[in-house]
């Protein structure tokens, strides 16, 4: 539920550094569960640059919509085009096939939570 190789935001996004200055970004298991059935993911253009915490898209479920905020400063290298046809991948595999964007990191990862800190945050929100 909280993979140790990911970094997390308090808004329930995850970031997975590849070690080569790039990273994948998505939303967490907790976030997809809170949203329910995802029906659309609105993603940015390749090449767009975002500051840490900046909104880069939205995820729509049957009952609600949620903003997607960039965990760290970066430039979009690739978006997960498969989500256009299969948005349910966000529910089924939030840390795998449900990834949203691949970014080239342009800043540091300061302020992100590790798995343990994120788990504590989720635990506090659920009770």
């Amino acid at each position: 539920m909280f993979p140790a190789d990911l970094k997390y935001t308090k808004d329930h996004e995850w970031l997975k550094p590849a070690g080569d200055g790039t990273a994948l970004v998505g939303i967490t298991q907790y976030a997809q569960d809170a949203l329910g059935d995802v029906v659309f993911v609105d993603l940015p253009e390749v090449g767009a640059a975002f500051a840490a915490g900046e909104e880069f898209g939205t995820v729509e479920s049957v009952k609600t919509v949620s903003e997607l905020n960039m965990p760290a400063a970066g430039e979009v290298l690739e978006v997960n085009a498969a989500l256009a046809e299969h948005p349910e991948a966000v529910n089924e595999d939030p840390y795998g096939k449900g990834w949203m964007v691949k970014v080239k990191l342009t800043g540091d990862l300061a302020g992100l939570l590790d798995a343990k800190a994120y788990e504590a945050l989720v635990s506090a929100e659920s009770h």
């Binding site: 569960d33 329910g36 059935d37 029906v39 659309f40 729509e60 049957v62 529910n91």
Partner: protein, 371 residues
């Protein structure tokens, strides 16, 4: 701030929902299941194609009984209560003098001088006070039976097949919007062929303490036919596709019955009732706004409840309810717009997160079951 779970009201099925791993939400002060692990789309689909079982025990029940009961209910509601046969139900409303809504409700005629009024959970206390306030002029008793009453709704095309083996009462002869009393799984129930999903189905009222055994018996009986427990999430998408009003959305204390498209429950010739004078005047003058159905034109444009309808940067109306429609596969909504724009095929714009997006007015209901 959300209300702590411990302070929320609970139906008799609270533990059953938790045992089914439902996701619980605060719904108007009630701790209710929004969905079970299958999810809203699967539950919606189950109701449209097979059957779903809902806990609606949070609804309020008010019993009015006595020689003055008919006259009181006629005074409080715009539909023609005298036309109801014993064993018949109709949809109606409590209106204020200005024709706007206190609430919408069902009236069950239990006897010549006895009526059961079924009201929305969130308005239950307000409604009971409203009935009590007007009752002293009439020779009748008014009892709030809500805490003592449980209710479950079995909805979907297989409802009759699932329920019939549990009761000796012949269900097929019960017409749509009629009811009877009988035993289901050995439990005394009011068996009502009504619902809020646009499908065939039955709403079962029972003593609060009998709700859990009744729920379990129906779920068990439906298992071979893939009956699914269904939450408030799909209840909303199901009713939206059928353009059934929801208090606080299509109707409230600022919207009158005619502009809500509910002229069919307003019988101006039945005699006096609260709100009649205002609605008579409203009927004479064309309503400045009207409730319409729309679809947004792009897949990414998903309108939501309460978003503005805009024209040239100015707000001209508002969305009452909107969601992606699981049955129709498009993004639907209902909105109040100026009457001159309320034409099927016409274009309006909805403001979604500061962006004005195109929508087309389309016929309603969006979904109608095959007869």
């Amino acid at each position: 701030m959300s209300t702590p779970v411990s302070d929320l009201m609970k139906t008799p099925l609270n533990a059953a929902h938790r045992a089914l791993n439902a996701k619980m939400v605060d719904f108007g002060g009630w701790d209710m299941p929004v969905q079970y692990p299958g999810g809203i789309i699967a539950e919606h689909e189950a109701v449209r194609t097979r059957a779903g079982l809902f806990d609606v025990s949070h609804m309020g029940e008010i019993r009015v009984k006595g020689p003055g009961a008919l006259a009181l209910v006629e005074h409080l509601t715009p539909n023609a209560v005298a036309n109801l046969a014993i064993g018949q139900v109709h949809y109606t409303a409590f209106l204020y003098e200005n024709g706007t809504f206190v609430d919408d409700l069902l009236v069950y005629r239990e006897g010549e001088q006895e009526f059961l009024l079924v009201v929305n959970a969130g308005n239950s206390d307000k409604d009971f006070a409203w009935v009590q306030q007007h009752a002293p002029a009439y020779d009748c008793t008014v009892v709030n039976e809500s805490p003592a009453t449980g209710q479950i709704a079995l909805q979907g095309p297989l409802s009759l097949s699932i329920l019939q083996p549990l009761t000796k009462t012949a269900l097929a002869p019960i017409g749509y919007y009629f009811f009877t009393h009988g035993e289901v799984a050995g439990i005394k129930c009011l068996i009502s062929r009504t619902g809020y999903t646009g499908e065939d189905g039955f709403e079962l009222y029972c003593a609060a303490g009998d709700t859990e055994p009744l729920w379990n018996a129906v779920l068990e009986a439906g298992r071979p036919l893939s009956l699914a427990p269904a939450g408030l999430g799909c209840r909303n998408t199901l009713r939206l596709e059928c353009k059934m009003a929801l208090y606080g959305h299509e109707i409230d204390d600022s919207i009158h019955a005619l502009e809500a498209g509910l002229g069919w429950i307003v019988k101006l010739d039945k005699g006096d009732f609260i709100g009649r004078a205002a609605l008579l005047a409203a009927k004479a003058a064309p309503a400045p706004r009207k409730l319409v159905g729309f679809k947004t034109l792009e897949k990414r444009d998903i309108a939501r409840d309460h978003m503005p309808v805009v024209q040239d940067g100015k707000q001209i109306g508002f969305v009452t309810s909107a969601a992606p429609s699981p049955t129709c596969g498009i993004n639907l909504g209902l909105a109040y717009v100026p009457t001159e724009l309320a034409k099927v095929g016409g274009r309006i714009q909805i403001e979604i997160r500061s962006r004005a997006v195109d929508a087309e007015i389309i016929p309603t209901p969006f979904y109608k079951r095959a007869k």
